[in-house]
């Protein structure tokens, strides 16, 4: 019973911490996220009422912006936890905090992933069909069923570790290393597996030559190692300004250096793909032509974004590669934004849409997301960022804020 009471106190205490005692900017940020979510509820209600015809997806391009966002966020979730590896290898002092914030980001990202899948479903009321035991998971053959499994395990592991660490901080007890570290270690291969399985979802379909490439999964991992840390680097800088969270400049610069290697590898893999397509010049080249230019004399609506993504990737690669710009916080933060934008476009737009254009019978449908899709997506990001903000607020308050005495006393 005491454990229940202790847990109850933790929950109410956390809620108090999450919503009270923020500054002006904090509440303004919450209000912005609230607006994103509020407007999205109306957009989703409309979609729920009329069906997915309110999106721009059609039989030709049957997955679009929602699934692109899903894929991007799987990468963010994976890379957030992978940051534990360098933290361990280079023995950064706040490794517990790096692990914790990585895991909180992973939780928020996976929640967004699941929401993006849910809003993309034709029959969200039948989501239970893909649950184990009550539904009918198509194992071992369907990669999507595997993806559901690994994503949910990953969510459960990260949620467990993160809430356990915060719970211990709340009650001022020292966390049990023997419980936490095996789970953290387990979450590292899990992080790789969620992004690999998601890549295999596309990779395994011979009907879509654009995705049917063996380096798709390595490309996913490489690009994820750019986007996830970009978010965390910015978060760490904010946190050490507004709280007692400490992280050395060296650690931040080391992450930036690792991102340069990841982006370099990502660009190399992309170049290998581009070489193979253009040099062999088969019918499969049409998808790259659609990505970078257009087909049958019509410019492709996604081509400007594809070039933008490539330019951002190259610029941020050099910003992070050159020690001077890497160690300068202004150029490093510009690099973070560019790298995040680059991977967002690469996964959100450049991965899904060209795979479907032209379609399997050679027909071209120029997909551009509808207003409903953009609004719903804004809401999903709103929910994810809100969740992340609240979780970080609680954790920071408990770990560095000296709030513990107030909460228990």
């Amino acid at each position: 019973m005491t454990i229940l009471r202790k847990f109850g106190a933790f929950v109410t205490g956390s809620a108090r911490l999450a919503f009270l005692g923020g500054n002006r900017y904090y509440y303004a940020w919450l209000a912005v996220l609230g607006l994103c979510i509020g407007q999205a509820l109306f957009a989703y209600a409309h979609q729920f009422q009329v069906g997915l015809i309110s999106t721009s997806m059609r039989d030709s391009v049957s997955w679009g912006y929602y699934i692109g966002n899903f894929t991007f966020l799987v990468g963010v979730a994976a890379a957030a936890v992978l940051l534990v590896v360098p933290a361990y290898v280079y023995d950064w002092k706040p490794i517990k905090e790096v692990a914790l914030f990585g895991e909180l980001l992973a939780v928020a990202a996976i929640v967004m992933c699941l929401l993006f899948v849910l809003v993309d479903m034709g029959r969200p009321d039948r989501f239970w069909h893909i649950l184990p035991f009550v539904g009918r998971m198509h194992l071992p053959s369907a990669i999507m069923a595997w993806d559901a499994i690994v994503l949910n395990i990953y969510l459960a592991v990260n949620l467990t570790v993160a809430s356990y660490l915060v719970y211990c901080a709340y009650h001022g007890i020292h966390y049990n290393k023997k419980f936490v570290w095996p789970l953290v270690i387990f979450s590292i291969p899990m992080a790789v597996s969620i992004h690999t399985v998601t890549a295999f979802l596309y990779n395994g379909m011979a009907s879509r030559p654009y995705w049917n490439s063996a380096i798709l999964a390595p490309r996913f991992i490489a690009s994820a190692f750019c986007s996830g840390p970009a978010l965390l680097l910015i978060l760490f800088q904010i946190l050490r300004k507004v709280s007692a969270f400490e992280i050395k400049d060296e650690a931040i610069h080391k992450v930036a250096e690792l991102m340069a290697y990841a982006m370099g590898f990502n660009l190399f893999l992309f170049g290998a793909e581009v070489f193979k397509e253009y040099y062999s010049d088969t019918h499969h080249l049409v998808h790259y032509e659609y990505l970078f230019a257009g087909l049958h004399g019509h410019p492709s609506p996604i081509a400007p974004y594809a070039w933008m993504s490539l330019a951002f990737a190259v610029i941020s690669f050099f910003l992070f590669l050159i020690p001077r710009t890497r160690r300068n916080f202004i150029t490093m933060n510009v690099g973070c934004v560019l790298i995040y934008a680059s991977v967002y476009i690469e996964k959100g737009i450049a991965l899904i849409i060209p795979g479907f254009t032209p379609d399997q019978l050679g027909q071209v449908y120029a997909y551009v997301p509808s207003v409903t899709e953009l609004r719903v997506a804004a809401g999903v990001f709103g929910i994810g960022f809100l969740l992340f903000t609240l979780m970080v607020k609680v954790s920071v308050g408990l770990l560095f804020g000296g709030v513990r005495e107030r909460a228990t006393g």
């Binding site: 039989d59 029959r123 009321d125 035991f133 998971m137 399997q360 050679g362 027909q363």
Partner: protein
């Protein structure tokens, strides 16, 4: 009289006292869903049954009969007309195959619209199970050069030839492989079917199909009462719902009763042939053995049971 369906089905779970775990969990989920939606599910007596609807293969023969009756009731309410829903099992010793003579097809699309009427496709928006591709005779079969949206006053247009494409009923169907919930599968007579009551609308099958054969109901299908074909099948042409995938079923409701598919029947030039691949004396076997036959995207190893040939 035909017997009750004898599709190969897993042994149904023994009737338990009270609720099974599955039923209990599903009922809980329904309560949540009913509370969460504003569509008035709670007031609808059939809605609960439809929500907890089992997978087709999990239905016992009795449950299947109940389900068919329930469905007919629902359709009568929805359309104001009687619709018969059957679950005709596949015939023994039959594996259906299709052949299409590219040298005869004139691209008139009678098959497309015959199919729409027979199979209760949506009229608004229009859903077609058959796509007729127009290509240049000079180019030959090149999908990157194909046009599905030709609009000539008369066909065939000079210098063009036509290639209708629908579900190829692969022996190794990628759509079945990727479906996360087993809502689509290959029947013993080779027909790839969909359980519209189990499909979650994830559209992975559409992505996986190399032939662009699958259609999604992006909105509630518009099917006027007086245009309904009332002879329907559970896994075939019964009216569909919004948010699920559908496609050609080789006119399951006809071919399992010994009739030709509608498209074969309406083709004005006799370009379409259909029959039992396991019967050495069938027309389809004659074509495969004696004509220049090819299959689409052979290198993908999907092993279509839809053969194109040049008969003239």
């Amino acid at each position: 009289m035909r017997e009750l369906p004898t599709l190969p089905m897993p042994v149904p779970a023994p009737p338990a006292e009270g609720y099974t775990r599955r039923e209990a969990v599903v009922m809980g989920l329904f309560a949540l869903a009913a509370a969460a939606t504003t569509t008035g599910c709670a007031a609808d007596a059939l809605a609960y049954d439809e929500f907890v609807q089992k997978h087709f293969k999990d239905l016992s023969p009795e449950e299947l009969q109940d389900r068919l009756a329930q469905m007919e009731k629902r359709y009568r309410e929805q359309f104001g007309t009687a619709i018969k829903v059957s679950a005709t099992p596949p015939m023994e010793g039959v594996l259906f195959g299709y052949a299409l003579d590219l040298s005869r097809c004139i691209g008139c699309r009678r098959c497309v619209y015959g199919c729409v009427e027979e199979n209760n496709q949506s009229r608004t928006p229009q859903t077609h199970w058959i796509t007729v591709l127009e290509m240049d005779k000079e180019e030959g079969v090149n999908l990157q050069d194909a046009n599905a949206y030709y609009e000539h006053e008369t066909v065939p247009a000079p210098g063009k030839f036509y290639m209708p494409v629908a579900c190829q009923h692969c022996e190794n169907p990628p759509c079945v492989k990727v479906c996360p919930v087993e809502a689509t599968w290959k029947e013993p007579d080779g027909i790839v079917v969909i359980d519209y009551d189990w499909c979650i609308g994830c559209r992975n099958c559409i992505a996986a199909c190399p032939y662009g054969a699958r259609r999604f109901n992006w909105t509630t299908p518009g099917l006027p009462k007086d245009e309904i074909n009332p002879n329907t099948e559970y896994l075939g042409n019964r009216p569909r719902q919004r948010g699920v995938v559908e496609k050609c079923s080789f006119c399951l409701q006809r071919v399992r009763k010994g009739l030709y598919p509608k498209c074969v029947e309406v083709c004005p030039v006799g370009a379409r042939k259909f029959g039992n691949l396991l019967d050495p004396t069938s027309e389809i076997r004659y074509i495969i053995e004696n004509k220049r036959v090819f299959i689409l995207k052979e290198e993908l190893n999907t092993q279509p049971k839809f053969f194109y040939y040049y008969g003239l």
